[in-house]
């Protein structure tokens, strides 16, 4: 089973960030949301394994409120 990798792996993190900002620029909120959803789906399929994706979901969730 592949583990979700959380150590830095991208050579150009700023380029990634800028590409995401560009993609969302000027989009109404519902289109933005749909764009993110498409990204998640495309990337999850690219990863091709459920386990790291489920770990990512768990990491991304807000911490339970006390």
């Amino acid at each position: 089973m592949t583990h979700l990798l959380t150590a830095p792996r991208l050579a150009e993190p700023d380029v990634l960030y800028a590409a995401l900002m560009d993609a969302h620029r000027d989009l109404p909120p519902d289109e933005s949301r749909k764009l993110d959803a498409k990204l998640v789906l495309l990337l999850a399929n690219h990863i091709g394994e459920l386990a790291p994706v489920l770990q990512a979901i768990a990491l991304a969730k807000p911490p339970p409120r006390a």
Partner: protein
């Protein structure tokens, strides 16, 4: 040809107290299936139904392969094949475009297809005829259960009829009185789960339309923007159309025939099709997914919608209920005949509760896709649909209903296969199922049980029977009366076969 609903004469109450070994409360799809199955196992049954006819409207229309095999076992299979509409192909549209199509690809070499569409009223009318032909089923129309006392030795039922009430003692009671089960409520048993905040308009439309024999599902079509629509073909030029309306829809208003006509006309008009049509049945439906905690309560056993309810996308309501009857009836017959202890009936709970959970899980997931509950859910749904048009990976994510399949967690039903008997085409499942059956390959099993041997009684000309059952030369499987594989043994191992048979009846693993 068109269906004319039968009207059955009310059953006049017997004088004083009445008694029956097995009573089935509810003569709907599942109660009637159970009655026929028990009768074929030699059990006499009394069926109480508060109505005097069969299902109003088409209701459960998609009969899945396993259900058809069960009706095959009960002697009704050919009627479903002849009258029903066989289909394999489904198409999903998003807006104006086709997003995805699927083929249920029935592999070759099965007597029954993946699905046939048939109005529930036909199925019930044939079940009534078949029940009467057994001579063991007493159908008491317009006999409503209005009171119940659950006792250690059975159930005492208060029954009301047009000619007055009576009391009926049932040694065993099968509660098949539908989603609003009186018996479940009268016994104070919980029925918990989820209600989906959505409403669907369901219409049977009579027309000579040019749609193909396929399941068509639209997300957000131009003729019904923002909602979904499902179309199915049924026999007699009756088409079933389900329009999603949303939670705010007014059920009384939406059922007005003129309003429904306008919706249907818009749908046909958008395809440039303006064939004349008639409305046969209109209903408004809110989906629920819920079940009882246990189905068996002593000598009262719940089946079908009374025990569990699912949303219809996936055709798991009717099919799941018929499979309950398939599981329960041989066990009850064995207990009544003194061949098995009462504890065998606990295996009904053990096998059918996970099956209900699987049906609820699948139908909940479909409903979550079809009726997004939040902005995020809608974004994901629309993202999947938009990606599906161009990218194959997204197509299997589209969920317009995961169609009914048999539950396999508690032993799978034996797969069918073509055989030759005396050179004539035949089917494996036709020769299994009235009792326990041993199927062996090459070697005649040493057993007192009914047996069929590939290569002896039957020619496995395609090799499919041996391959699908995983039978090498000298191997055997023991099939239960519901055609489920109970054990794998060597055909020559008489003691092993006998032990496996005993274990199945005593519900020990």
């Amino acid at each position: 040809m068109h269906f004319t609903p039968p009207r059955f004469a009310a059953f006049a109450p017997p004088r004083g107290q009445d008694h029956a070994a097995v009573v089935i409360a509810g003569g709907g799809l599942v109660g009637l299936t159970a009655a026929l199955d028990l009768a074929r196992h030699g059990v006499r049954v009394v069926v109480l139904d508060d109505d005097d006819t069969v299902s109003t409207g088409s209701r459960a229309i998609c009969f899945a392969k396993r259900t058809l095999e069960i009706y095959g076992r009960l002697g009704l299979g050919s009627r479903f094949l002849e009258k029903g509409v066989t289909w394999n192909q489904g198409r999903v549209f998003h807006g104006e475009r086709e997003a995805y199509s699927f083929d249920l690809l029935p592999e070759e070499g099965h007597e029954y297809p993946a699905f046939v569409n048939l109005q529930q009223y036909y199925a019930e009318a044939w079940l009534v005829e078949a029940c009467m032909a057994t001579g063991r089923v007493e159908l008491r129309w317009r006999n409503a259960v209005a009171g119940i006392e659950n006792r250690a030795d059975g159930a005492r039922l208060s029954v009301t009829t047009p000619a007055g009430p009576y009391t009926l003692h049932a040694d065993w009671l099968i509660a098949a009185d539908g989603a609003r089960s009186f018996i479940r409520r009268a016994l104070g048993l919980a029925f918990e789960g989820q209600v989906f905040r959505d409403r669907f308009l369901i219409a049977d439309v009579v027309m000579q339309a040019a749609f193909p024999t396929e399941r068509w599902f639209w997300f957000d079509p131009p003729f019904h923007p923002g909602q979904s629509v499902l179309l199915h073909r049924q026999p007699d030029d009756v088409w079933r159309i389900d329009f999603q309306l949303g939670w705010d829809a007014d059920p009384a208003l939406e059922q007005q025939p003129e309003r429904v006509r306008a919706r249907v006309a818009q749908m046909l008009g958008s395809r440039g099709d303006d064939v004349p049509f008639e409305l046969e049945w209109i209903s408004i439906y809110t989906f629920r997914c819920r079940r009882m905690q246990r189905f068996r309560h002593g000598r009262t056993i719940f089946v079908g919608d009374a025990a569990h309810q699912v949303s219809p996308f996936g055709a798991r309501g009717g099919n799941g209920g018929v499979q309950d009857a398939d599981n329960l009836c041989w066990k009850l017959a064995a207990v009544l005949a003194g061949q098995a202890p009462d504890a065998l009936l606990d295996s009904y709970d053990a096998e059918r509760i996970p099956a209900a959970d699987e049906n609820i899980l699948n139908s909940t997931r479909s409903t979550d896709f079809i009726t997004p509950k939040s902005d995020a859910a809608r974004a994901y749904r629309d993202a999947v649909l938009e990606l599906a048009a161009a990218h194959a990976f997204a197509r299997p994510v589209v969920n317009s209903g995961r169609l009914s399949r048999p539950y396999e967690g508690a032993g799978r039903p034996a797969p069918d296969a073509p055989l030759l008997r005396n050179g004539r085409p035949d089917w494996l499942l036709r020769h299994t199922g009235d009792g326990f059956t041993v199927v062996s390959n090459g070697v005649v099993p040493a057993t007192g049980l009914p047996a069929i041997t590939l290569g002896q009684d039957f020619e496995d000309h395609s090799g499919l029977a041996a391959a699908r059952l995983g039978l090498g030369h000298g191997d055997a499987v023991l099939l239960r009366p519901d055609q489920h594989i109970a054990a794998r043994i060597a055909a020559a191992d008489a003691a092993g076969i006998a032990a496996a048979h005993r274990a199945s009846l005593h519900a020990v693993a």
